[in-house]
């Protein structure tokens, strides 16, 4: 079990230790400075003893004066050392914080969507900020204090032992309490702090969700309920903090008690020895001063234990993310031929897919030739979005089931693949940036003319021209200051901007009126030869011109063919068509 434990501790800290090498000079200099600062601080009590001896023997005051000057000089030197400690060790902790946060975010950016399906935004945010801070406290301040304590304790104890070994032994008896109480308290802190961090993340997530969903909250007058609910969470957080607070409240006095009782022992035993004439008064005074030096470092141990426990809790939480690997391994294959000759052929061979246990797509076989348009219709939840998401490798696909340009999708270099795919998601996500920056999101170097051109393609240009700052208009978070259809069209323009070979429009015009939709379809059709297009839609009008239409039900293709074929077939697609068009047709005739 022990071996096991050390192993987990090792991997736990590797997140931190792998960066330490980079800052070894900070560490070396920092530790030297700690030794220097404390070594220098050990001398003044001795100087005090000398001064007292001089005073007792009545030596000239000039000697005393010199000693005093030496003391001040020493404290300046140790001040410089202390400056160096912070400048190196704490400095290093900020470096590490930066490194780890960078690593964490870089890792987050690479994690696949399935990770984000399972973890809440607020929780992830808490880990990258709140937990990281706890880890930093463990690395920086705790390390500084522990080094301090070690050096001071060794130094002071040596000096004390040199002055009087017996007195030193006596003084150490109360100090035995430390290891015992530390271990116990430490574990308790660990557990309670874990709860606090988890709850804090929960609190953040709830707050985050509430603010994101503020429209729903307001529309349904949930403000008071939300406030109540939040109050409960906050109350619970308060209680958890208090339970940790009880430990902290005990820590400090306890350690102080131990530290000062050392003084008591020295006072009594030392005093007795002085009375018996075994040692001089100066020795006892010096002892006091050394013990005085020990008091704070000893109290700091309590603090360090607590920081360490908090740090490991948080480090584990960060490692949880870092140890999650993306379930989408990237291949390296990329067609040798230059980009232009990429055809955009897509082939599904008996594709089966499930997010977890329940199968979503079943035995799906289908070939879409380069330049063809595939229309996908089907009931809600039948797997349309899933189908196109697989094509962009948002979720993992088993081998030999999905081919793009005759290459297994698993072999594709993921970036190369995605560079060829213009994806318009069903729910468009825009960044809080300008309209232009949103459109050229996939091609930052695009000029404003190019932006305007694709905006034209997406029938967005007219709207943008009416915005106060035109393409430089800021859209709010998620594009909140745009209308539903405007958001969708920005998303279409963004996909068109990267000049894809495969264009995926997942219900991309559901909030766009039919006239504008028609316009967009016309313009896209103009490029149709070079473009393999996947159109998912609930509107027959969007898919009826497709070369091929599939009707999905429960992840199976139940009808396949072009518009005419499916109409003639007279089944589900034809029903859909009738429901959407014929009724109206008859009426208006």
């Amino acid at each position: 079990m022990n071996a096991n434990e050390s192993k987990t501790t090792f991997s736990r800290f590797s997140t931190v230790t792998k960066y330490l090498g980079r800052y070894r000079w900070y560490l070396v200099v920092g530790v030297l400075a700690v030794i220097g600062a404390n070594g220098l601080m050990l001398v003044p009590p001795y100087l005090t003893k000398l001064i007292f001896d001089r005073l007792e023997t009545g030596s000239p005051m000039s000697e005393v004066g010199l000693l005093v000057l030496a003391m001040i000089g020493l404290s300046i030197a140790s001040g410089i050392c202390r400056f160096t400690i912070r400048r190196t060790i704490i400095w290093m902790s900020r470096h590490l914080e930066y490194d780890i946060r960078g690593e964490l975010v870089a890792h987050l950016l690479k994690l696949s969507p399935s990770f984000y399906d399972k973890n809440r935004t607020g929780d992830i945010m808490a880990r990258a900020t709140n937990d990281l801070e706890a880890v930093r406290m463990m690395i920086g301040p705790a390390m500084m204090h522990i080094a301090n304590t070690l050096v001071v304790a060794t130094g002071a104890l040596t000096m004390m032992a040199m002055l009087s070994p017996r007195l030193t032994l006596y003084a150490l008896i109360p100090a035995l309490v430390f290891p015992i109480s530390m271990n116990k308290l430490g574990n308790m802190i660990h557990r309670r702090f874990l709860k606090i961090q988890e709850h804090f993340a929960h609190l953040t997530a709830v707050c985050q969700e509430n603010l994101s969903g503020v429209r729903v909250v307001k529309a349904y007058r949930q403000e008071d309920h939300e406030i109540e609910n939040f109050a409960d969470l906050s109350e619970h957080y308060f209680k958890l903090n208090l339970s940790l607070g009880r430990l902290h409240a005990a820590f400090y006095p306890l350690f102080q008690l131990v530290a000062t009782s050392l003084m008591l022992v020295v006072l009594y035993v030392g005093g007795r020895d002085v009375i018996r004439g075994e040692i001089e008064l100066g020795t006892v005074v010096a002892f006091f001063l050394y013990l005085g030096m020990l008091t704070w470092p000893l109290i700091a141990i309590g603090w360090v234990v607590s920081l360490y426990q908090r740090g490991t809790v948080s480090l584990d939480r960060i490692n949880q993310i870092l140890n999650t690997t993306s379930d989408i391994p990237t291949g390296c294959a990329e067609p040798k031929s230059d980009e232009k000759s990429v055809r955009g052929k897509v082939e599904f061979r008996d594709l089966n897919f499930a997010y977890d246990e329940a199968p979503i797509l079943n035995d799906l076989s289908l070939t879409v030739e380069p330049g063809q348009t595939l229309g996908i219709v089907g009931l809600t939840g039948s797997g349309k979005t899933t189908l196109v998401a697989l094509l962009a490798r948002l979720y993992p696909v088993a081998r030999d089931q999905l081919f793009v340009d005759d290459i297994d999708i698993n072999d594709w270099d993921i970036n190369a693949l995605r560079r060829r795919i213009g994806f318009t998601a069903q729910e468009p996500f825009l960044f809080s940036a300008t309209v232009a920056d949103n459109i050229r999101f996939g091609r930052a170097d695009a000029s404003i003319d190019e932006v305007a051109q694709v905006a034209q393609l997406a029938a967005l240009a007219k709207d943008v021209d009416e915005f106060p700052d035109r393409y430089e208009t800021m859209v709010g978070e998620r594009g909140i200051t745009l209308s539903g259809g405007q958001k969708q069209r920005v998303a279409i323009a963004r996909a068109a901007m990267i000049e894809p070979t495969i264009l995926i429009l997942d219900d991309a015009t559901s909030s766009v009126d039919t006239e504008t939709e028609y316009e967009i379809n016309q313009r896209i059709n103009a490029h149709a030869e070079q473009l393999t297009t996947f159109i998912v839609s609930h509107r027959v009008s969007s898919v009826k011109d497709a070369d091929q239409i599939i009707f999905l039900e429960d992840g199976r293709i139940i009808e396949q063919g072009n518009h005419e074929v499916l109409i003639t077939l007279g089944r589900r697609y034809a029903d859909l068509y009738r429901a959407q068009v014929l009724a109206e047709q008859l009426e208006s005739l």
Binding site: G79, Q208, E209, L211, P253, I275, V284, E427, A433
Partner: protein, 598 residues
């Protein structure tokens, strides 16, 4: 690349520490007793602390010096008693202080959150959620220092200081005065430091909020980032923020690294002075050894609270930076509030009159221009129009999400602005164009936090919208888990769920903004017939692009560039051959040709 001002924190003017502090202290008012007790306990602790060197002085001068072992034993026991008592009182004091601090944080956190709940939507349009979350969570936590180690501890420190000064003066006022000569130096150092560190802290808080906003946005938009291969560029953007946070931290470390050693050196200077001048006095027999030892211990003790005070003062700076932001938020009040004496609307028939309505989000960019129409009770009205015409904006005005500039909207004859917002909204239910699903379970998303809605009503509502088809697949029925933003559901499923939410709340007026745009036609037809029965006699307003959704409406209104251009039934409008006709003509013409061919 991105226009940064949206993320940049609002520029902060000069802070008035005293004013901020005063305001922060008001949060302690309910806990006066606790504050006073904690401060009192601190006083006891300080007294006991000061007693330690005094006992030592007595032990040295009166017993060790006079070879009195029994006396030494007695004083030793007293010493022990003082230590234990000190520890006990300190425990009580620390606990009470932590309690106090956490309690106040709890209060502030609630207040900030509650305040956010009252803010109007224009505010949310302008502030990234990540920043607001930072206010409620980490900014509030930063205040901890003020209450748990700040206020009470400062009172304690000041008292200890006074006590030590008293004792020092009592022992030997000359030596004491010599010790105090370095105090002005200390004050000067603290002031210089303070000015520097405050700016740095402000910067730190701003960067932290920026990091949160970045994370919030990129975590929610991760698919887009990945689909467009922007992982690296997103990382570069993040790195910039991360770097600037580190730089701010570096600066603060630098100031701290300067500050503490300086204080240390000053205190050694004081001890040196004591030793030197104390030495003189011993030489001339004016002072005993015991006194000198006690003096030195006291001088060290004298500097500790001073050092602590200045350190605490600086911790306070960090908290001040946060409190500044929190108060800024609390001082921004919602521009949309209920009138002081609102008109009551007990029973809502659902008559709506809109007259000469003008509305703009900003200044004069009119989104709605002179819109007038009325809806009779029980009517089913459809609003159509090209994308961006202002349909959703019109709907949001009913809710007073935003306030219109001119004209009026009346519900049952009462102007909306005359009604309590809460009571107004209680009559309406809305399915938003942007569906929002909370994490939790299915039932929770339907009833929200309204416990009056029973499980059966939830099931009923889900059944009406045809969601039970999916429910069967879930293990826990309506208790099945739903992820953040409904991550594991299809878009249509989410829409159905939020539709069920509207039905379960059983409104007098139903508003559907593209409520079924992502739902298949089969399910939609099913919902429509259910609605017809369910909402017989109730007013509903429907926004949709899909013809099948609207054609059965009693009246169709056509919005065009914010103006109401046509109004009538489907037949009438088709006959008019205007905008409506144009909107749907393409579809029908082409179909007609096709059918003709078949």
């Amino acid at each position: 690349m991105v226009a940064n001002n949206y993320h940049e924190e609002e520029a902060l003017g000069k802070v008035y520490d005293a004013r901020l502090m005063k305001r922060l202290l008001t949060y302690l008012r309910p806990y006066r007793v606790a504050v006073v007790s904690a401060a009192f306990m601190l006083l006891v602790v300080s007294l006991l602390q000061v007693a330690v060197p005094h006992l030592m002085k007595i032990a040295i001068d009166d017993y060790i010096g006079k070879n009195d072992l029994d006396g030494l034993t007695n004083i030793g026991l007293l010493f022990a008693a003082v230590l234990v008592a000190g520890a006990a009182v300190r425990y009580g004091q620390t606990y009470l202080t932590i309690w106090l601090g956490q309690k106040v944080l709890h209060d502030i956190r609630q207040q900030v959150f509650a305040h956010l709940q009252r803010m109007n939507l224009a505010f949310y349009d302008k502030n990234p959620v990540g920043r607001l979350v930072t206010r409620v969570t980490s900014d509030v936590n930063t205040l901890n220092e003020i209450f748990s180690s700040g206020v009470v501890a400062i009172i304690g420190d000041l008292f200890t200081l006074a006590l030590i000064v008293g004792v020092l003066l009592h022992y030997n006022w000359r030596l004491a005065l010599i010790t105090f000569t370095v105090v002005p130096l200390l004050v000067a150092v603290t002031f210089v430091f303070r000015a520097k560190v405050r700016n740095v802290y402000r910067e730190v808080r701003a960067r932290v909020a920026h990091i949160n906003a970045f994370l919030q946005e990129h975590v929610t938009g991760i698919k887009v980032v990945q689909l467009f291969n922007q992982e690296d560029s997103a990382f570069r953007k993040f790195d910039e923020i991360n770097l600037s946070l580190r730089a701010a931290h570096f600066r603060s470390i630098y100031y701290y690294a300067m500050f503490f050693p300086t204080v240390e050196i000053i205190s050694t200077l004081a001890i040196g002075l004591v030793l030197y001048f104390g030495g003189f006095r011993i030489e001339s027999g004016l002072m005993t050894f015991g006194e000198l030892v006690a003096f030195i211990t006291l001088v060290e003790m004298f500097y500790r609270p001073i050092r602590d005070l200045s350190e605490k003062y600086n911790i306070l700076q960090a908290s001040m930076a946060s409190s500044e932001r929190i108060f800024n938020l609390l001082d921004t009040s919602s521009t949309i509030v209920s009138p002081t004496s609102p008109c009551k609307l007990e029973h809502c028939t659902g008559r709506i009159e809109i007259e000469n309505l003008w509305f703009a989000y900003n200044n004069d960019d009119w989104v709605l221009k002179d819109v007038s129409f009325s809806v009779e009770p029980g009517q089913k009205i459809a609003i159509v129009g090209a994308t961006g015409a202002g349909k959703s904006s019109l709907i949001s005005l009913f809710y007073r999400f935003y306030d219109y500039q001119r004209g009026s909207i009346r519900l049952d004859g009462i102007e909306l602005k005359q009604m309590a917002i809460d009571s107004l909204r209680s009559h309406l239910a809305l399915v938003l164009q942007d569906v929002f699903i909370f994490s939790g379970d299915i039932a929770g998303n339907v009833r929200l936090r309204d416990d009056d809605i029973s499980d059966d009503q939830v099931r009923e509502a889900l059944h009406r919208v045809g969601f039970d088809r999916f429910l069967r697949r879930f293990e826990d029925d309506i208790g099945s888990e739903v992820r953040e933003r409904g991550a594991t559901m299809s878009t249509g499923q989410k829409q159905l769920l939020s539709f069920a939410r509207a039905l379960a709340h059983d409104p007098d007026i139903l508003m559907l903004d593209e409520a079924t745009s992502s739902v298949d036609t089969e399910t939609e037809t099913l919902i429509q017939s259910a609605l017809e029965r369910l909402f017989e006699g109730r007013t509903s307003i429907i926004v949709a692009h899909r013809l099948s959704t609207i054609e059965k409406a009693d009246r169709i209104l056509v919005l065009h560039h914010g103006e109401l251009r046509e109004s009538g039934t489907h037949r009438e409008l088709m006959r008019q051959q205007g905008i409506y006709h144009k909107l749907y003509r393409l579809q029908s013409r082409k179909q007609a040709v096709r059918i003709g061919k078949d």
